[in-house]
Symmetry: C2
Subunit: 256 residues, 2 copies
DNA sequence: CATGTATAACTGGTATACAAGATATTTTAC
DNA sequence: GTAAAATATCTTGTATACCAGTTATACATG
């Protein structure tokens, strides 16, 4: 009955390190604990990825018991994973009824794009002011890698490199945390993007745009760099009307 | 042994509505379910508030069992609340060891301030362009209320009104969701603010600054409005050196 | 007395059983 | 045959018991 996800309970069952702990004031845990694998993390990551790349489409029921059996674990960690997804608005949990992959909230899309542009502009501007030579070289290397992946047609790896570039720009500006924020904001937009435009063929264009951004930074021309970045980000037009008829059930139109 | 929080298991034990559900594609839940109170929400809110207003100082142990007994509930909902706090970096969970109120990450503070300024600038600029008359009147009313609360010396209510003003500006710009983002970003900064500067006496100044922002918006002078907002937000200087010696254990200095 | 080691008392992580509401199905009345 | 009511079977929410590390304490040992 329930649409089941593909069989891939994630290779690893023991991994993923944890964030550095804060030692409490009076004597206590101070070292980095060995990585205690939380199974909930694995389930979370798998579901998260499946939802973001739209292999789990909006409306798909997520049944705890089903996941429980697939991973061979109990409901508790599964539940934790689902709760985490619920906070990111990737699933909707309806008490005593069921959990479903959330629709893509159109209103949020628009704001997410605006917010991202604002945050990335700050990063680019700051990177222009104080990127070190090594950071510039690093960015140039990433672009080169993008070029190679583009030629190889490896969309998945390319997409990752794309993210690395943006993260690198933020880091060069001294604001690595801002990219973390952008990544959270990007979630819903990413679902839209994956759904509507396969970036096949767009890869070379993206490489060129990244080059324009980096050129601006290297030349210490903030306005040019920012303009290039904005132009780059503006490529994603939210033209929802087109898809309203195609997948009416995949989007949420009214205000949440 | 453990520093315990004050006795106040939150008056309500049944409340808080839930977000509108998404109905899955084929026939399913479509109406707003009656508000099913999740006890985890109550515990979360109480702990959240206590941490943000620094009545629970960084390093304080959070003991599940203790909370369990105080609220008369089981560990499961308590655990959910704590996990939620962990995601917001308000607590650090160290497996098999303990859970502690997180230190304030200095590096994050700087970035949070920059990010907030960037996001609010967008909101102000957009509000200047398209705020309706009713929205302007609403904002003016909020400022009036701030003035009254300032005179009455009600810091808590004033602070809430402060937030309402910023939320109103975002809404007037057509980006209500961006204020939600800002609120998440604000968390750590808020802890710092509460810790370092009691805003007693600063209230009147804040009212004046809000007035300057609104004046700019009303006059459709985007640059003036933005300048006023930036000036307003810049008032919070992160002058960490001063507090390094005062509360060395309350802050986290190295990169997380 | 100093130091290393065993041990007991914590902690959070997980599994499982039960409760309560929502939905789907069947049954029954007309 | 249709519609309404009873019921069975889903779901998530909660409570509880158990497990496995961690940490502190007591104790043996030099």
């Amino acid at each position: 009955m329930a649409v089941s996800l593909d069989e891939r309970p994630s290779a690893e069952i023991r991994s993923r390190k944890q964030r550095a702990p804060n030692s409490p004031p009076r004597g206590a845990p101070d070292r980095h604990a060995g990585q205690a694998a939380r199974n909930s993390e694995i389930v979370y990551r798998d579901l998260h990825d499946a939802i973001v790349d739209v292999s789990l489409v909006p409306g798909t029921p997520i049944v705890e018991k089903e996941i429980t059996e697939r991973y061979g674990i109990s409901r508790t960690p599964v539940r934790e994973a689902i709760l985490k997804l619920a906070e990111e608005q990737l699933v909707d949990v309806i008490p005593k009824s069921g959990t479903f992959v959330a629709r893509i909230p159109v209103a949020v899309l628009q704001e997410a794009i605006v917010a991202r542009r604002a945050l990335e502009e700050v990063c680019v501007r700051e990177a222009t002011a104080k990127a070190s030579k090594s950071q510039l070289m690093e960015l140039r290397a990433i672009i080169q890698r993008e070029y190679e992946l583009s030629a190889a047609g490896d969309e998945h790896a390319f997409h990752e490199a794309d993210n690395v570039f943006h993260a690198g720009v933020a880091a060069a500006g001294g604001y690595p945390g801002i990219w973390t924020m952008v990544e959270k904001i990007r979630l819903q937009v990413e679902r839209y993007r994956r759904l509507t435009l396969p970036q096949h063929g767009r890869m070379k264009l993206i490489v060129a745009e990244h080059e324009a951004v980096l050129d601006g930074i290297e030349n210490r021309d903030a306005n040019a760099a920012v303009a290039a970045m904005n132009s780059h980000l503006n490529k994603l037009r939210i033209d929802i009307a087109t898809f309203r008829d195609l997948w009416p059930d995949y989007f949420l139109f009214d205000r949440k």
